[in-house]
Amino acid sequence: MREEVTSPKSPAERFNEETLIRRIREGEHELFYELIRPYERRVYSAALAILRNEPDAEDTAQEAMLKAFKHIRQFRAEARFSTWLIQITVNEARMRRRKEHAHLVDPIVDYQDEEGNYTPRDFADWREIPSEILERKEIRQELAEALEALEHIYREVFVLRDMQHLSIAETAKALGISTAAVKTRLLRARLMLRDLLAPGLGGTWSSRLHFAKGTKPW
C-alpha cells in the first residue's frame, strides 16, 4: 500500500556505502559524516521515540553515531548499515532511559497481555483525512501528544515502522524482538492511536485530546 523506503538500495548506492565504509576503516575518518548523513533523521527519531525528550534524544543520537564510528570494524557487510546504526541507537537510548529511571521502580510490562484482543472503540465515523491538515501546527502537536501517551513498547515499534518506514524485519532486528511481536504491537499501536485521535479528527474537533499526558484512556 505504500512505497518501501528502505527497500534494498540500488547497487550503485550500496557500492558507494561499502566503499565509504572501507575507506573509513582504512583511515579516512572524515568520510564518516558522509556515510551517516542520510540516516541522521532516522537515528534522531529512534532516540526520541524511546526517550521522549528532545535534548536527550539529540545527545543520544550523537553518542550513537560516535559509537558506530568507534566500532565500524565490527560492522558486517551482510547486514544493512542503517539497521546496524538504528540498533546501536536503540541500545544507547534504552541504556539512558534505564539510568535516568533507576530511582523509579521499573514497571513490569505484562507482555502476555499484548497477545490479548483489543476492542477498538465504536465511533460514528472517521473518513479519509486529507494530509493537508498536517500544515496546521496544532494538529501535528495533537498527533505528537497522542504518540507520547503510548506505552513505550508500542511507541518504539510504531515510530520505526510507520514513521521511519523500516520493514517489519528491520524493526524486529533493531528492537531485538520477533517479527510476530512487531506485528502484534504495531496493530495495538495503530488501533490505540486511532481511538485517541478519532474523536477530535473525525469532525468534532476539539483543541485538546480528552486525556491527560501520560495516562492511558483505554
Binding site: M1, R2, G27, E28, H29, E30, F32, Y33, R37, E40, R41, Y44, S45, E54, P55, E58, A61, Q62, M65, L66, F69, N117, Y118, T119, P120, D122, F123, A124, D125, W126, R127, E128, I129, S131, I133, L134, E135, R140, L143, A144, L147, F158, D162, M163, H165, I168, K183, L186, L187, R190, L191, L193, R194, D195, L197, A198, L201, G202
Partner: protein, 180 residues
C-alpha cells in the same frame, strides 16, 4: 469463509500491510462492506498510518546537523591522509583569524554593533554555526530559549554574524563575553 468483527480487528494491520492470504482478504472485504463499525475502524487505522507516515510529522531540531558534525570532529582522531590537509586548513584558519582580528579592531568597533548596549565577543570560533533573527541584535546557539523572534531565523557562520554586527547572546554565548 465468514469472519467476525473481532477477527477483522485482529487482522486490520496485516490487511493494511497487504500481508495476508487472498481468501482471508476477500472475506474481510465482504465483511467490512457490510459492517459500519469495521469500516470506521479500517478508515481510522488507515488515517493513522497515512498521517504519521508523512514527512511533515517529524522535524529534527534546528542546527542538529551542524552540532552533530562538530561533535564528530571533536571526537575523531585525525586521519593520516588528511594530515596535510589539516595543516593547510590550520594555516588558513590562522590567516583568517588574523585578518578577522585586524578587521575587528579597525572596522567592527563597539559602535558598529546592532545594539549600543551589547558587548562585542572575543574568541568566537569564526566557523561556528549560530542562529540570528533578521531584525535581532544578538546571535545564539540553536535552541537557546532567549531567541525572541523565532519566525525569522537564519543559521550562519559566527564570523558572518559578527560581520553583520550581531553580538553574542549574554546567556548561551556567555563564554565569549568574559574578556569583552
Amino acid at each position: 469463509m465468514v469472519v467476525s468483527c473481532e477477527q477483522v480487528w485482529r487482522e486490520i494491520s496485516n490487511y493494511l500491510e497487504e500481508d495476508m492470504e487472498p481468501g482471508l482478504r476477500t472475506s474481510m472485504e465482504e465483511h467490512i462492506r457490510r459492517c459500519k463499525r469495521c469500516t470506521t475502524v479500517l478508515d481510522g487505522t488507515r488515517n493513522v498510518v497515512q498521517l504519521y507516515g508523512d514527512e511533515r510529522m517529524f522535524e529534527v531540531p534546528l542546527g542538529f546537523s551542524q552540532r552533530l558534525q562538530r561533535r564528530l570532529e571533536e571526537n575523531m582522531p585525525r586521519s593520516r591522509r588528511s594530515f596535510l590537509g589539516w595543516m593547510v586548513a590550520t594555516a588558513a584558519a590562522v590567516l583568517v583569524a588574523g585578518s578577522f582580528e585586524l578587521g575587528r579592531s579597525s572596522v567592527f568597533s563597539h559602535s558598529e554593533l546592532r545594539s549600543e548596549h551589547a558587548q562585542p565577543g572575543t574568541g568566537v570560533p569564526p566557523d561556528m554555526m549560530v542562529v540570528v533573527a533578521t531584525d535581532g541584535k544578538t546571535f545564539h546557539a540553536a535552541g537557546c530559549p532567549f531567541i525572541h523572534d523565532k519566525a525569522h531565523l537564519r543559521t550562519i557562520a559566527a564570523q558572518e554574524a559578527l560581520r553583520q554586527g550581531y553580538a553574542p547572546c549574554v546567556r548561551c554565548m556567555r563564554k565569549y563575553l568574559n574578556a569583552g
